[in-house]
Symmetry: C2
Subunit: 328 residues, 2 copies
C-alpha cells in the first residue's frame, strides 16, 4: 500500500477583494497560509503570476515535489465541470475565465475549482461536522445565503453544475423583493445578514414607540451583528428579528429536508455568530413544518470549521475528491 499520509493539497479561496491560500494535509491541518489582493490584478494572468510567486515558496518549504496532490480553488461561480469561473459579478475578470488551465500551466500541478458553498460542504465532509455523513446540506448564512448539498456521499451538481441555489428558493410568495435578482420572498432576502438588517429596520419602523438599543444607530449602521448584540442584552425588537429570521429559515429547511432527507443540516457563516438566537427558532420551525416521519431526526448544527480557515480547508478538500473533476 502506498502511504498517502504525507500527501498535501493547496487550498485557494478567491474572494472579490482578497485571495487566501494555504497548504493542508489529510487531517485538515493548515501547515502554512497567506493571502494576496484579488482586486489588484485587472488581468487574470497577472493574478496567476502573483499567486505563483506567493505560493511557490511555501510549496518548496513544506514539501518535496512529489507530495503535492493538486490545487483546489474555491471561487464565486466556479464551475467544476469546465474548470472555469463564469461571469462572476464581484470579480474584475469578466466573462468565462479558464482558471484551472492557467493555474495548472503555471504550477505544473493538477487543479480543480468549485463555487464557495460547494467547497465549504466538501470541507465540512472532509474535516468538519459532516465527517462520515453521506447525506447532508450545508447552508452558508453570510451577506447572501449559499448552499452545498450532498446526497449519497456526492455533491449535487445537477445536469449543468448549478444545483444548490437554495438561497434563491421562494419561501414567502409575493414577499420582500431581492435587491439583486428582483425575485420576491426568496430565502436570501430574509436569512442573510443583509436580510436580518432589513428586518431590524422594518420592525423598528413598525413600532416607533417601542424602545430599542438599536435606535442609537443610523439605519445603515444596523447590521446582523448589531442586532445580535442588542438581542443578547434583552432588546425586545432585536430578539423579535431573530425569531422572525429563524422562523423563515426553519420553514425553508423543512422543505429541504423533505426533498433529500439529510442526516444533518450544517449552518455556516457570519450569521451563526448569533448562536442560540438563530439556532433555537430555526430548529423550532424546522420541526413544526416536517411530516412526522422526518421529525426529531435531522441534526441542525453549526459548522465545526474555524471561519477564518474554512475557505482554505474547503478549497483544499476539493483536491482529495479530484478524480471526478476537470483538472484544467
Amino acid at each position: 500500500m502506498i502511504d498517502l499520509s504525507n500527501e498535501l493539497a493547496i487550498g485557494i479561496d478567491i474572494g472579490g477583494t482578497n485571495t487566501k491560500y494555504g497548504i493542508v494535509n489529510h487531517r485538515g491541518d493548515i501547515l502554512e497560509k497567506g493571502d494576496l489582493r484579488t482586486d489588484a490584478y485587472p488581468k487574470v494572468e497577472e493574478f496567476v503570476d502573483a499567486l505563483y510567486k506567493a505560493v511557490k515558496p511555501i510549496i518548496k518549504k513544506n514539501s518535496n515535489e512529489t507530495s503535492i496532490k493538486g490545487i483546489g480553488i474555491g471561487a464565486p461561480n466556479g464551475n467544476p465541470f469546465t474548470g472555469t469561473i463564469e461571469y462572476a459579478p464581484n470579480l474584475r475578470w469578466k466573462g468565462v475565465i479558464p482558471l484551472c488551465e492557467l493555474v495548472t500551466a503555471k504550477f505544473k500541478l493538477p487543479s480543480v475549482i468549485n463555487n464557495d458553498a460547494k467547497s465549504a460542504a466538501i470541507g465540512e465532509m472532509t474535516y468538519g461536522a459532516a465527517r462520515g455523513m453521506k447525506d447532508f446540506i450545508m447552508i452558508t448564512l453570510g451577506t447572501g445565503v449559499g448552499s452545498g448539498i450532498v446526497v449519497n456521499g456526492q455533491v449535487v451538481y445537477g445536469h449543468d453544475g448549478f444545483a444548490g441555489e437554495l438561497g434563491h428558493t421562494t419561501i414567502r410568495p409575493g414577499g420582500r423583493k431581492h435587491h439583486g435578482t428582483g425575485m420576491h420572498g426568496t430565502l436570501e432576502t430574509y436569512a442573510s445578514a443583509t436580510g436580518i438588517a432589513i428586518t431590524a429596520n422594518q420592525l423598528l419602523d413598525e413600532d416607533p414607540d417601542q424602545e430599542s438599543l438599536m435606535r442609537k444607530y443610523r439605519r445603515e449602521e444596523i447590521t446582523a451583528k448589531v442586532v445580535a448584540e442588542a438581542a443578547e442584552k434583552g432588546d425586545k425588537i432585536a430578539q423579535d428579528v431573530y425569531s422572525f429570521t429563524g422562523q423563515i429559515l426553519g420553514e425553508a429547511l423543512a422543505n429541504f429536508v423533505m426533498f433529500s432527507s439529510p442526516e444533518a443540516i450544517i449552518l455556516f457563516g457570519g450569521v451563526i455568530k448569533a448562536g442560540d438566537l438563530i439556532l433555537k427558532p430555526t430548529r423550532e420551525h424546522l420541526e413544526k413544518n416536517l411530516l412526522p416521519i422526518f421529525q426529531n431526526k435531522v441534526k441542525l448544527v453549526f459548522s465545526e470549521l474555524k471561519e477564518a480557515d474554512a475557505a482554505i480547508l474547503g478549497a483544499s478538500a476539493l483536491v482529495w475528491e479530484m478524480k471526478e473533476a476537470v483538472t484544467g
Copy 2:
C-alpha cells in the same frame, strides 16, 4: 459475455384496493399481466399465497426458471432499505410488514420493494421519458402528490429512505390546511386532484353570480376531471382553477429546480389528463420563479408510460437496479 436480453422481471404494484402484476422484459414490454384484490386478505401471508397462485402460472408460461431475475414491488410506504412496508395507512396489514422476506420465501426469487413514486421514477428512467437522464424529478399528480428524485443517476433516498416527499413541502405558508397531515399550504393541498376539486368549489363560492358549467354538479361531484372538461368547453371559472393550480405547481417546481438542477421534470398521474390546461401555467410560473441561470433549460414533460401499465413497469424496473437493494 452473458446474453441478458432474455432476462425477465416480475413487477407487482400493491394498491389499497387492487394489486397488479406483470412479467416484463428489458425493453419494457409486458408479456402478460393480471390483478387481484389487495383488500380481500386480512393477513399478509394469505395475500402472498394468493399472489403466488396467480403469478406462478405466468412465470411458468413465459420463462424457464433461470430467466426471471427477480420480483420488484411498488407499495405505499415500501422501504427499500429494509424490504418492508411500514405503517401504510391504506392497507389492512398494520405495522411493519416484512413483505420481501415473505415473497422471496414463497417464490424462491430475490425481491425488492420501493414506494410508488420512487418506483415510477425508476420506471421512467428505465423505459420512459427519462431514459438516459442522470438528473430528473418525477412528480405524480393523483389523489395526492408524490415524487421520485434522481441525482447522478441514483434515486435519492436520504439517510433514512424517506427522501422525496415534495408533495408535503410548504408553498403557501399559512395557506390551505391538509385534511390528513394538518399542515398548511403544502403542495399537495393545491396540486393534487383533491386540491383541484377544493379550488373549484372555492372559486364557485367566491363568485356566485358567475355562470359555470360546474354548477350543475353537487359539491362532492366536482372532480379534477369535471373541472378539466368544463375548462375545455371554455368555462371561465374552470380555466381559472387550472391557472391557479399551475401557478402554485410552477412555483414549487422552481424551488425544486434550484435544489437539484434536473434536466427534466416529468409529470405523471391523473391530473395530467388535463394536458395544456395544467402544463402551460405550470411552465409559465416555473420559468418566472427561476434564477436566470436556470431559465429555459429544464424540460417539463408528461410521462411516456401508459398510466395503466406504469405501476407494473415501475415495479419491474426495480429488479434491474437490484444490486444495491435489500432482497429480503
